[in-house]
Amino acid sequence: MNNATPWWSSEVFWKKTAIWVTGSMFVVLIILTLDSIPKITAGSERVPAYSVINKHIDYKFNDERNIQVPLIGGEDPLFGKMLSEEEAEALVSYGKKITQGRNCMGCHTLLGNGSYFAPDLTKAWLDPGWSSEEEREEMMIAFLMDPVENARSFGSGRMMPNLHLSRGEAMAVVAFLKWMSSIDTNGFPYNFTVIDKEG
């Protein structure tokens, strides 16, 4: 009876294999998750604390890693105002809630995930489209408050609709975008040109 079906085609063998494989893969995933979550918690090396919006942020090529990585510089408070860690978190969180409530991800990608109808916002804070670092904050707020009036479209005819953001809401969104640009994304987006830089 033991050689009626070879072991490798027996139902029981594969049932056990399925259970063991699934179980062990899941355990490995949990272990990796336990390792990863602290490394992406705000305040870690890869994902800076929310108060990073008080600092200057750049995206520079790193010879060792052979990719561009965010570079956190000296003091450069957003809208000229230094915030405590709690205030910064509250502002960034408000900004993120606005991006969810207005469904920005229904047109844009954030960290490359979302929709493909509009530019990726991962490094929007650093985009050369904002002219210069001096003009950036005001330009971003003006654009977010009235994207139709300030449309660029680059000949595509595609515009961002007016989502009726108040000035306060636009400021929170900018804080969120500034914070997001400081995340170490392993070099994505590749070859990004940073504002105020001559190629």
Partner: protein, 476 residues
Amino acid sequence: MKLDHLNGGQQLAVKYYTVAISLFVAQIIFGLLSGMQYLYPELLFGMLDFNVTRTVHINAMVVWLLYGFIGSVYWLLEEESETEIVGLKLGQLAFWVLTSAVAVVVLVFLLVQSGPGDDFTRWFVNEGREYIEAPRWADIGIVICMLVFFYNVAATFSKGKWSGISGVLTLDLVALAGIYLAGMFYTPNISVDQYWWWWVIHLWVEATWEVLVGCLMAWGLMKVLKVDRKIVTTWLYIEVALMFGSGILGLGHHYFWIGTPEYWLTIGGFFSALEPIPLVAMVVHAVYDAGARHMKGNNNPALAWLIAHAFGNFFGAGVWGFMHTLPQINLYTHGTQWSASHGHLAFFGAYATIVIAMIYIAVPYMRGQKGLGSNLPDGGWKWKWSLGLLNMGVVGMTVALLISGYEQSFIERAVGGSTWYGYFSAQTHPWFIQGMEWRMIFGLITSVGIVLLVWDLLTIGKGRVAQEREQTQAVA
């Protein structure tokens, strides 16, 4: 339609199938609108913006596929457990609750659309996270209705009898529902947000849904081709081992660029590259069984759609997924029309096909007949044409999007560095626009296919009862 001759589970299934197909139609309408907005950006601008049409497009898809799965499981429940469903009334109540909730969510998406950055918006309007935009109250409602469904499944099998298929199915449903919870909380941290968001999306489509349709496929092959249960069950276990073995850690292919540590580049790349293996196994399985029985089954449309599923799954998920799953390539293709190309072929090929197959398996029973053989009065032209047009349409859209995706990944991602300007230099390139135009043309072909599909499902096999009786007598 009178359905008294069906068993309780099957009567429930017909309800779910009806809503599924209606939402499929809605999905296509809103897909056409989103696609048109690429070519005519002023279309419905400021009224029904792209984010709204797209959200309805993909949410209708997720919901109709889930309805299709629930319907399929209810359809086979009493037969597989050899007993009556335990909670028919409760199941019916859950159906109406769920369907009303879906209707409210869609209406709010269309009419309210967005809200301020507060908790009320996320609880009652829009959560703003792709695929799971449904507000939190609806999440909770969905979970409760899924629990009712799960109770019906688990308790009915416990009362009747268990089998390999039902065992895998039930455990898989636990995982499927549990994973949904990973998407139900708020965090200001976008990296942590996307970390768990991918648990829901990836561990659904590349693990638990894949195993669920594996169960449906196993049952479908037994049903349509009378394949031996032992063989089908063994294959199912092999597929579970391979799918979970690769798909669980394959999750890492979404952890390349969201802030997560570098080791995910290796783990995600390696394990996701193995994911096509179970999909090849499924093609081998289906084609071998069909071939061994000389393609002769008792239900030709269902058999054709089961085979479309095997190939669609392999190409859409396996081949199109593999093409951009290595980090060296994904760095440039991430978040471009490549993803859309893969998303369309994979969701259609792997999931829409099998739900359609399961519905075709049900149709003759609903009409009190034995099967849908090759003796249909009109030669079965409607199901054949809808099969052809739907598959051709989606494959055409996929190829068109791939061409746009290639162009985008070179011009925007590699050369343009993904800036605002770089993005539009790719979007305005003639090759990109041509891809968008061809996507619309094939989208229209897809739409004709779905019109025929609906027409066919409503009419196929009607008035065939007498003829069929004669034939069975002749055979006897």
